[in-house]
Symmetry: C2
Amino acid sequence: MSGPLKVALLGCGTVGRQVLRLLDEQAEDLSARIGRGVEVVGIAVRRPAHHPDVPAHLLTTDAHALVTRDDVDLVVEVIGGIEPARTLILEAFESGASVVSANKALLAEDGVALHAAAAKAGVDLYYEAAVAGAIPLLRPLRESLAGDQLRRVVGIVNGTTNYILSRMAETGAGFAEALAEATDLGYAEADPTADIDGFDAASKAAILASLAFHTPVTAADVHREGISAVSATDVARAAEIGCTVKLLAICERVTNGEGDSVAVRVHPAMIPTSHPLAAVGGAFNAVFVEAEAAGQLMFYGQGAGGEPTASAVLGDLVAVARNRLAGAAGQGTTGYANLPVRTMADTPTRYHVSLDVADKPGVLATVAQEFARHDVSISTVRQDGHGDAATLVIVTHSAPDAALSATIAALRDMPAVRDVTSVLRVEGLT
Amino acid sequence: MSGPLKVALLGCGTVGRQVLRLLDEQAEDLSARIGRGVEVVGIAVRRPAHHPDVPAHLLTTDAHALVTRDDVDLVVEVIGGIEPARTLILEAFESGASVVSANKALLAEDGVALHAAAAKAGVDLYYEAAVAGAIPLLRPLRESLAGDQLRRVVGIVNGTTNYILSRMAETGAGFAEALAEATDLGYAEADPTADIDGFDAASKAAILASLAFHTPVTAADVHREGISAVSATDVARAAEIGCTVKLLAICERVTNGEGDSVAVRVHPAMIPTSHPLAAVGGAFNAVFVEAEAAGQLMFYGQGAGGEPTASAVLGDLVAVARNRLAGAAGQGTTGYANLPVRTMADTPTRYHVSLDVADKPGVLATVAQEFARHDVSISTVRQDGHGDAATLVIVTHSAPDAALSATIAALRDMPAVRDVTSVLRVEGLT
């Protein structure tokens, strides 16, 4: 191989345009770093007329023909979505090209099959941009920590929901109001479902858990709750106990008598303000990692946006290009550990519960009994009386999530409990 | 190659023992990740009798014979210091072995020659453990951000000094008192010179700058000031303007009319408490990175200790082992950009200065004139009168460091200035 490395680009939206810009502006540096030039030989788009800034001779609507060209070394896929991205990537592998992708939905749904296809073809599949934008995260998990045992990966991996929750904490606003503000400012899309219902975070959690625990995890394995039920009361209650509310993607290795398993979930939770993740505000992302030998690590940065995502794509592109010149594929990923994935019902969690109760002797005892009946141990309880009513604020110890939610359901039916005003899981409390 | 990968270990202190422990405990996982087992074939130590826990047949005092054994694939160097580490690493390369090292002093002094020797031999040289312990940092800089242009790398890379400065801020103690406490608790060594005078941080800064800017930078190129001159007054003054004092390793690309250059320095500085680095307390390390496309990133974790350092060594070991099996060396580093390194005198910085002055009309004007005479522009000034004296607190705009230090020298000689009570550089203010 003596000419430049030939790149096919699939998609030319916000990220694709930034990839083209960086390839152009950094051409000299990239050549020095790779040891050869990089040439974009084609760009597949649906409507060429929408891309007047791109040299017309590069544009094509025939993505299939582009990815199967004999001379293409690398395919950069920034279309997103499942199809046609999956078919095009598999076609690229079959014709011997490596792939760099930013497609979290596809990797979370079909990562195992895609990795297998890449391995079979002896080519690379890299996708740093799929999780937490420009934050170097997947390569550290795959490579830097390859000699360690990961215990937990806890991330704030969705900027839209983090912006909304940050605003609720700052202004006391409710969810609807904060969402409206985020939409006005362009932090939330017109249809914000993928973000606020946790689908986006669940895809990222599946990818992180797969890499962290060497176990195939798909988005369907991830327990998912969004933030639309988080109330101003929840946020205020969190502040009262020195916590803040975040939408967390939590990937854990659970070790008990039955052997190791993994639990993967996305839900809002209270975390102590002293936790490194608590300070991650606005549209930033951060991922907190606990490893047996390395201890606690955190990675922080911009999780979205054309430029940061393009930076991650180019980092992968350089790695794949260098592997190509060395005549070897880089580190793939293996699901060798293949640990069982726990159900949410069976996953240990902790709850924070606020109740409005009648201020009569014995109410606390009755409520405490209900927790005990479900084998849920209470960590702290605070009772504030006001007139004939009182507020009980309870933080539990860790118990299977099913036991905790059954306790809440039972409390709602108790005559002494006037209202369950706030229920949220708690993470990171010692 | 069909048997296990054969590893020679040089040194068996705190880090070496943890490397052996992890290799043993994680043996099964490592085999799965590498695709082959790992066997330690020899451990070079000075006094075998001091290592009763290690199988005696593995111990040798002849490190030279060990690293030049035909069957050794990888040498793990955790001796530290310049010699004999350098000679042994070069011998290992010559006999075809790759090297994983945790040796910051050696890499900072002689990284260029070592990389050249590894490239010539077609083998790998990895040293993630040399900077910021277990925090995956060098691989992200070398690889993840390879498609981006780095502007600044600012790190808290020495845990001892960070612990001392954190305690000074928390308790109001002076440097000597906080150092004594750190020594008692084992956070500072009996001879703390390498830490408190900034030698350790300067080595790490040289390594970071070399990788970030693709330019050979040695420890001798790094402007270095330690923390022994930081006073309780400096820390109190920092708090007054919403800042905290940290020992920073700062690597910058400076762009001006004369073309790009790099500035690399280690010194205490005030940073705003809102800066992500300000919250990094105690013995933790963190490195803040600004890249053109990726924006702001931060990496946080434990910077020292046997286990975290061993985790980083094993991550490198897995990478080198996989490269070896693939028959290719991994990404090396190149100094292709070879940018000029600026002197400190010529590096733009900002100062915070506190002066005790006579409270007479015209003093502020006289002082301001002195700054102007050195072409230093003032950002903010605050004057507090008390009796016949007053305090002036001045924060400058950015100016060449030589102009700032010349201004301070001139102020010390002014009759109107009774005392210069605090001088510290300021970073991260907007």
